[in-house]
């Protein structure tokens, strides 16, 4: 990206570039007659999934290894799992929380690593509306499944609460859940991405040492962790609201 060495020192220090945060199309593939593109989102998602798989396999190996003194890594993994269990239990209750703990843990790992992947020079996959909409649709299916499972026909009766006329509003509010969930995550992550891209693209070079690290800590680490937490929290709140609401 820094091709300023061929230019003069003036151009290096005060070069102005276009902000660069678009999804890039890497190479085309033919999909039933249409040309679709493998984009940076796909590549970054695959990298993150690979990282998660390596992490989990290493964690499994280190926890299962029989030794008198567990390693530091195994202790850390057990601590994180304990935190996750207490997080899910305190929101959903310990008995039904057991069924959802795998999904919540996977979701948290994926969203968190996606959000902070801007630190490592990737374009965050959650800054693409396709990714967040898919995650939110999985959550939507889970919410509706919980409603059907635990309320049976009461779910249809709930759509007509409190009066008959409210039926369309209730249906819209059901479908607004995944939209607002996905737009919240997408908006937060893309706001951070755009801010960082604007900073890197529009500021002169001498401001790019040291100062962006503070911005990275806020936009990538802090905001990413908060948004991953909020996404998991809202998923759990919606599901348990359907489960044991009136």
């Amino acid at each position: 990206m820094q091709n300023g060495f061929a230019l003069g020192i003036d151009a290096i220090l005060f070069e102005e570039k276009q902000p660069d945060f678009y999804i890039k199309e890497l190479f085309p593939i033919n999909f039933f007659g249409n040309t679709v593109y493998i984009t940076t989102t796909h590549v970054c998602t695959l990298i993150i999934v690979a990282v998660i798989m390596i992490l989990t396999l290493a964690a499994r190996a280190s926890v299962l290894k029989k030794s008198a003194k567990p390693s530091l890594f195994a202790t850390g993994v057990e601590m994180v799992i304990g935190l996750l269990i207490s997080f899910v239990d305190s929101t959903m209750g310990s008995k039904p929380g057991k069924k959802y703990i795998n999904y919540i843990g996977t979701l948290f790992l994926f969203v968190f690593l996606s959000n902070i992947s801007g630190l490592f020079g990737l374009r965050p996959p959650t800054a693409d509306y396709g990714t967040t909409l898919c995650i939110a649709l999985i959550t939507f299916v889970m919410i509706q499944y919980a409603a059907i499972r635990y309320k049976k026909l009461g779910m249809i009766k709930d759509l007509f609460q409190p009066v008959f006329i409210f039926f369309p509003i209730n249906v819209i509010s059901e479908f607004a859940t995944p939209v607002s969930l996905s737009l919240r995550l997408f908006g937060n992550v893309i706001a951070g991405t755009v801010m960082m891209a604007l900073y890197y693209g529009l500021m002169p070079l001498w401001t790019k040492f040291g100062i962006p690290s503070a911005l990275h800590v806020y936009f990538d680490l802090f905001s990413g962790a908060i948004q991953a937490y909020v996404f998991c929290m809202l998923t759990m709140v919606f599901v348990s609201d359907k489960r044991d609401g009136k």
Binding site: L183, R184, G187, A191, V230, V237
Partner: protein, 85 residues
Amino acid sequence: MDINIEGLIGAASAIGAGIAVCSGIGSGIGQGIAAGYGASAVGRNPGARGTIMSTMLLGQAVAETTGLYGLVVALLLMFVKPFGK
């Protein structure tokens, strides 16, 4: 002075994006109120810090959504350019 239609559409889109981002005002006020009441609740009952924190973050995230809708509209106007293609 000549004004072509593409430049006019671009200028109008930029103004619209600026107006759309004003939706952040409301969500900012809401988040500030939530944080203030959260802080006073922790001051009154420091033992319940964890519960108050999670409730406050949840409320702030929900309050933030409307501001983010404005941001998404502004980004669409600025970079996707739905008008005047």
